[in-house]
């Protein structure tokens, strides 16, 4: 059979140029189908999915880089804002502290002044009380002394002086005592 086919091919080669070069339309179509299948399959199953996958990956990387850049920018903004806020808060706290110090100082001064006034009033009151007590004590002492003097005089003069004399002595003593008090 093979020899027969070879013979046919040789006959075809004798007839035309294409036959001489081995061009046979059936073989040509068969080879074209093979190439067509290869192109279709590689295109459909390898190139297109792979190119799409690689494009998606590139897009994802680009998006990721853009997002990272945006995140960096936002972080920087947030840090700037944070430092601004901190500075503002520090300034405000310093102002509040200063204000509180001034207020405290004022309050302290007022309280000290008020305490001083209270103490002075109490001291004055105590002094007055002491004076009063002294006066009362002196009066009591004077009365006691007068009583004692009168008793002593009475005992001493009971025998030597009369009532008129006793009264004179008593009055004299009282006068002297009065003078002593003043």
């Amino acid at each position: 059979m093979s020899a027969e086919v070879t013979q046919l091919a040789a006959e075809a080669a004798k007839t035309d140029v294409l036959g001489t070069l081995g061009i046979n339309w059936k073989l040509f179509l068969a080879q074209l189908v093979n190439v067509g299948i290869v192109i279709f399959v590689l295109s459909k199953w390898v190139f297109k999915p792979l190119v799409k996958l690689m494009d998606d990956r590139v897009k994802k990387i680009d998006d990721g880089l853009a997002h990272a850049k945006e995140a960096d920018r936002r972080l920087k903004d947030a840090k700037d804002k944070e430092s601004d806020l901190l500075a503002q808060a520090r300034k405000e706290s310093r102002m509040m502290i200063d204000e509180a110090i001034v207020k405290g100082e004022k309050e302290r001064s007022e309280r000290v002044e008020r305490s001083k006034q209270d103490i002075d009033a109490q001291v004055e009151e105590a002094k007055a009380k002491i004076v009063q007590e002294k006066v009362d004590a002196l009066e009591a002492v004077r009365l006691e002394v007068a009583e004692l003097v009168m008793r002593a005089t009475h005992k001493v003069a009971a025998t030597a002086a009369d009532d008129a004399m006793q009264r004179r002595y008593v009055e004299q003593a009282l006068q002297e005592l009065e003078q002593t008090k003043v």
């Binding site: 093979s2 091919a9 040789a10 073989l27 093979n34 290869v38 399959v41 297109k48 190119v51």
Partner: protein, 275 residues
């Protein structure tokens, strides 16, 4: 042992004769289909080793394509055809170097003599295949050209009736002469399109067939060690020929999908004659 120019018949299926080159191209086609099917199902966002390798190959190819097309979008558009042709030609050329190709066969009586007819023969050493690929490339370039720049603009490159009519209308002898020259140049372009098919197919066929003859002769003289440098040479020839075929196809595709120079402006010579 001789290597005939025509691929040898191996088996006959009904009225169809299967040649050894067709066996090779069919085996390669089946291998590519199997690999592609497996590859499609094992495609992942995080690539494995093989996917990494294919991605590297693809990126490299697109890089070379960009140098010709000057546009990544165009490179991606032409990738399915040009990339497939490159891979098919390259693997087919290298497959021809595998042990068994050209040496394992069946004994048949040819021209009255008992000869060993190889079951496998480098697919590209069959002019049917190279011619089919060349025709496919050129026809695709024309179809894409028509789809991209428009039917009339595309065919005006070859049959410049519009330019001729414009020249005649001006009644300026210089312009008429220029238009006629351009018309004739357009007709020559048609011949060059046929030459493209012939040059693409015969270059690839010739190189691979010559390589096969060389390998057969060297292996016939000394079977061991000596053929090794020639095999290395054939590996390089395989790469070079696959590159040449695919890059030329890419150039044809790029040229025919670009708007022709001066398609919307007056011809510089005509402008000069006005001045």
């Amino acid at each position: 042992m001789t290597v005939p120019v025509i691929a040898e018949p191996v088996v006959r299926i009904g009225a169809f004769t299967v040649t050894n080159a067709l066996v090779n191209s069919s085996l390669l086609m089946l291998a590519i289909v199997s690999f592609s099917f497996w590859f499609r199902s094992s495609l992942h966002k995080i690539p494995g080793r093989i996917q990494n390798l294919i991605e590297l190959l693809l990126e490299t190819m697109l890089g070379y394509f960009d140098q010709v097309t000057k546009s990544r979008a165009k490179s991606k558009r032409f990738l399915p055809l040009v990339g497939s042709l490159f891979i098919f030609i390259l693997l087919s050329n290298w497959m021809g170097l595998l042990p068994g190709t050209g040496s394992i066969g069946v004994w048949q009586v040819v021209h009255g003599e008992l000869e060993l007819v190889p079951i496998l023969r480098p697919a590209m050493s069959d002019l049917n295949l190279t011619l089919a690929m060349a025709l496919l490339s050129i026809i695709t370039s024309h179809v894409l050209g028509m789809l991209t720049v428009g039917f009339f603009v595309h065919w005006n490159r070859f049959i410049q009736l519009g330019g001729l009519w414009k020249g005649v209308k001006t009644l300026n002898p210089m312009k008429i002469l220029v238009a006629m020259i351009e018309f004739l140049v357009g007709l020559l372009e048609i011949v060059s399109e046929l030459a493209k098919v012939l040059s693409l197919s015969l270059r690839l066929f010739g190189n691979i067939f010559a390589g096969e003859v060389l390998m057969t002769v060297i292996a016939g003289l000394v079977s061991f060690i000596v053929p090794m440098p020639f095999m290395l040479l054939e590996i390089l020839v395989g790469i070079v020929q696959a590159t040449v075929f695919s890059m030329l196809t890419l150039v044809y595709l790029s040229v025919l999908t670009e708007k022709p120079h001066g398609s919307h402006e007056e011809h510089p010579v005509a402008v000069a004659s006005h001045a």
